[in-house]
């Protein structure tokens, strides 16, 4: 065997190794992309069913003897009437075969208890309903909803199925008569948390996130831009600015939960600021977001060509004037992009907020910066930790809402960058 043959042989080997190596790289990228797709698609598949919910059509008789026994149309009387009984009676008419206290109770549980309040509101709005018969779509309870969404569960044995054979029989009767339908789950978009899956909504935590982010923005944006301007444009090179710079770089990499410990120890324990309030959450997130915006500010200031500064100074502006009047305005699009990205990160952050009490179970929709509130990602965490089966799809739906907001914010950032950022 001569040398050429040896080389030829080894060359083939080497080329094989070459293509193998390239394939490994492609495999790396493919697996990362597949992970992303799998994560997003499982969540969408799991969560999309939470946006619709099951409604049951019943012939409701607004019995005057229950709602308004005196016939005075007294508002308090109407408000505190027993609407559960109204629903119970109409169910009794639908299922005349049901007798017995226990069975009656589980029959009433077909309908979500939130409907009592809805009936009350309807009566308050229209007093003429009293004494009338009306066909009404009522929201089904969570377990009926789950069976309706997963028909394959009907074949399971009674103990594995969430609902009893009797309840399934009633549900089948309703389905046969065409009195069951899917409809948009309005409660999910209009309510705050609840112990019952079919009554829990996301609006409370969306508003909580909104109040928190407003505080974060108000605090972090001006401070970060000021710090960025000083460090990039005006700072003398000395010990202090060195320390500040090292500090900012380190803060950017401190685990977020440490900020939660800081908030707990200082804002809550020393300063006695209110627990669970968006104002404290906003302050903690502002400290976390500062480095992001400072770094974005510095990068976009750096991108402004020196000729701008020189021209301003050449015409007699002071250094400060040249920065504030000329350089900073040109850097605004970049700063805005960085700020939006920082805010979207703050929106997805939950660990520090767990420690300052924003994990409380809050049924009211927050109305101000000091009300107890929770935020979107923490709401997702709370629902995930709840045992009831109906909360799984709610959790996934919450994730979808959160991701939608994040996508919107990032799209806005990309739009701002493409539309306003100047390439020099």
């Amino acid at each position: 065997m001569n040398n050429t043959e040896i080389i030829k042989k080894s060359l083939m080997k080497r080329h094989l190794a070459e293509s193998r190596f390239k394939t490994y790289g492609i495999l790396g990228i493919i697996s990362a992309t597949v992970f992303l797709i799998v994560i997003l698609s499982t969540i969408f598949i799991e969560g999309k069913s939470a946006f619709k919910s099951t409604y049951i059509k019943l012939d409701v008789f607004f019995d005057p003897s229950i709602i308004d026994p005196d016939g005075t149309r007294n508002i308090d009387e109407i408000r505190f009437a027993n609407y559960r009984k109204v629903i119970k009676n109409s169910l009794k008419n639908y299922f005349p075969e049901v007798t017995g206290k226990e069975e009656m109770k589980s029959l009433t549980e077909l309908i979500s208890s939130s409907e009592e309040e809805n009936l009350m509101q309807a009566v308050l709005k229209n007093n003429d309903l009293i004494g009338a018969n009306k066909k009404v779509w009522l929201k089904a309870s969570s377990k009926i909803d789950i069976i309706h969404k997963n028909p394959e569960m009907k074949d399971l044995s009674e103990s594995n199925r969430l609902i009893s054979d009797k309840e399934l029989e009633w549900f089948d009767k309703l389905t046969r008569n065409g009195d069951v339908k899917f409809s948009l789950n309005k409660i999910f978009f209009l309510k705050a948390d609840s112990t019952e899956p079919e009554q829990a909504g996301i609006l409370g935590s969306i508003l909580g996130s909104f109040f928190t982010l407003v505080i974060t923005l108000i605090l972090s944006f001006p401070i970060a831009v000021a710090a960025g301007v000083f460090l990039e444009e005006l700072a003398p090179k000395n010990r202090l600015t060195d320390i500040i710079e090292i500090n900012i770089n380190n803060l950017a990499a401190v685990p977020s939960i440490i900020f939660g410990l800081l908030g707990l120890a200082i804002f809550l324990n020393v300063m006695h600021l209110p627990r669970s309030a968006p104002i404290v959450g906003g302050m903690v997130l502002a400290l976390m977001t500062l480095p992001t915006i400072i770094i974005a500010t510095r990068v976009s200031l750096k991108a402004v060509p020196p000729s701008i500064r020189e021209a301003a100074v050449g015409l007699g502006a002071t250094k400060f004037q040249s920065v504030i009047h000329h350089v900073l305005p040109l850097a605004i699009p970049g700063i805005a992009t960085g700020t939006i990205i920082g805010m979207s990160r703050a929106l997805g952050e939950s660990a520090p907020l767990l420690l300052i009490g924003m994990v409380a179970f809050i049924v009211d929709i927050p109305g101000s910066f000091t009300d107890s509130a929770t935020v979107l990602p923490v709401q997702i965490y709370l629902w995930k930790s709840t045992a009831a089966r109906g909360f799984v799809e709610l959790t996934a739906a919450g994730v979808i809402v959160l991701l939608t907001f994040l996508i919107l914010m990032n799209a806005l950032a990309i739009f701002v960058r493409n539309k306003f950022e100047k390439k020099w």
């Binding site: 070459e18 697996s31 992303l36 401070i223 710090a227 990499a253």
Partner: protein, 461 residues
């Protein structure tokens, strides 16, 4: 006076002060018939007076914001009759919280009248003290800015004064970063020291049993609680190792492909897609790990005939690895692209194939940067909270078996601190001891990584 009316009045006054002061400067200039006029533009005199209005107001309001709750609590406790204070079950803090939570208009029937009285007093106090502060600061600001008007003269350089104040304000904003770091270190050290008073530091660092169940009330009979953190550290190590086992190969191979093989156009599309992985909130990964990956792994294990915990380290670590991929791929890609083309050309010239060049020239040259990327990723994995809180367990098992459930530092911090706790029990203070360990560990990793990156950059630029 409420906050919004204060804000409106404040805006009016500040416009007025600015306008008055700059007009005064204008008139001053107009009166000078010959000789030199004011050294700065009239607007700078306006801004100068405005600073004297806003700075004192701002300073006082910020101080008030931070001290108000503290101050009001003291006033409230003073107001509560002392005999009621002693008969109340629980500590004074709880009483204060109860009073604050009570709405004097709509209280539960059977609420103690003293509490309702105090709640009324507290609500009044909040409103009255706010109005006093608002009116006081406005007056003070007005007095200061009126005095500043007297400085308008040829001898006073307003622009220099304004710019100096501005720069000082910018410096103040920059020091917030330092203040935050100091705040973190001090609050952690302070609480951790209180913990080490109760539990010796070596018991904490070297103990092998972690069961922080201490008595909640003093008279309750319960075990003292054991605070040996070794199981937590090994748990964190295990999950980090699993995460790295997923992230390093995938991240590094992706980075090699992106920087060496991919055409610029493909690189420009793939890189952002990988970075989406870092942008997805960690709570989403936690949900995915707990709901999908955990049960999936369990089923696979059952198929092969053994059983694993549903909160196994494997599920949490694996999903965390997916999250970490872009941290490794992005930075490694950058450092590999920074390796000069001449080095590759030299390698090709002696007959090496592309993969040989990468393995023997590019990777060794980029190694420090890759190491730094890995260190940063490790620090990120150690500090990651939500994925492990949702998908890993809370029981501290001392094991290196990835199929068992382990706990991490962050999980324990959250478990110890979520919920109502007394703040002087060893249980809650332990969270701060864990926190300071976490802080210094990640700080150490970050500092090394940043140092390597900086040194490396200097070499090729």
């Amino acid at each position: 006076m409420g906050f919004w009316s204060f804000l409106i009045i404040f805006c009016f006054i500040s416009f007025y002060v600015y306008w008055y002061s700059s007009t005064k400067a204008l008139k001053f200039n107009a009166n000078i018939k010959n000789g030199s006029k004011l050294p700065s533009l009239p607007s700078y005199y306006g801004t100068y007076s405005f600073f004297w209005l806003i700075l004192p107001i701002f300073l006082i309001l910020v101080t008030w914001f931070f001290f108000k709750p503290f101050f009001l609590d003291i006033l409230l406790i003073k107001k509560i009759p002392s005999d009621f204070l002693t008969t109340f079950e629980g500590n004074p803090d709880m009483l204060v919280d109860t009073i604050k939570a009570t709405n004097p208009e709509k209280f539960f029937p059977g609420t103690n009248p003293v509490i309702i009285e105090s709640a009324k007093y507290f609500q009044n106090l909040k409103i009255i003290s706010d109005s006093y502060v608002y009116i006081g600061t406005l007056l003070l600001g007005l007095i200061f800015s009126t005095f500043s008007l007297r400085k308008i003269s040829v001898a006073f350089r307003a622009r220099q004064a304004v710019e100096k104040t501005n720069v000082n304000l910018l410096i103040l904003c920059s020091t917030i970063a330092i203040i935050t770091t100091i705040g973190i270190i001090f609050s952690l050290i302070f609480e951790a020291l209180r913990f080490f008073e109760k539990v010796p530091i070596f018991d904490f660092l070297l103990g092998i049993t972690w069961s922080p169940q201490t008595a909640i009330r003093e008279d309750q009979v319960a075990s003292e609680g054991l605070f040996g953190a070794i199981p937590i550290f090994t748990g964190t190590l295990l999950i980090t190792l699993i995460a790295m086992a997923v992230a390093i190969p995938i991240g590094l191979l992706s980075a090699i492909y992106l920087s060496e093989y991919a055409k610029p156009k493909i690189r420009a599309t793939i890189k952002p897609i990988l970075e989406i992985l870092a942008g997805v909130p960690t709570v989403v990964y936690g949900f995915f790990a707990a709901i999908t990956v955990g049960p999936f792994l369990k089923e696979i294990a059952l198929f092969f005939g053994f059983s694993i915990a549903s909160e196994s380290a494997l599920a949490a670590g694996g999903v965390m690895g997916i999250m970490i991929i872009p941290f490794i791929s992005s930075l490694s890609d950058d450092v590999m692209s920074a390796v000069p083309q001449s080095m590759r050309d030299g390698s090709y010239a002696v007959g090496a194939t592309k993969s040989e060049t990468i393995k023997q020239v590019v990777l060794p040259a980029a190694l420090p940067g890759v190491v730094a990327a890995i260190l940063l990723a490790v620090s990120r994995a150690i500090g990651e909270t939500m994925i492990v809180v949702m998908a890993a367990g809370i029981s501290a098992n001392l094991t290196m078996n990835p199929f068992e459930s382990v706990t991490t530092v962050t999980v324990q911090i959250v478990t110890l601190l979520v919920g109502d706790q007394e703040f002087d029990s060893a249980k809650t203070l332990a969270a701060f001891a864990l926190g300071i360990t976490l802080f210094f560990l990640t700080l150490f990793l970050n500092l090394i990584a940043l140092k390597i990156v900086r040194k490396y950059r200097e070499k090729y630029e």
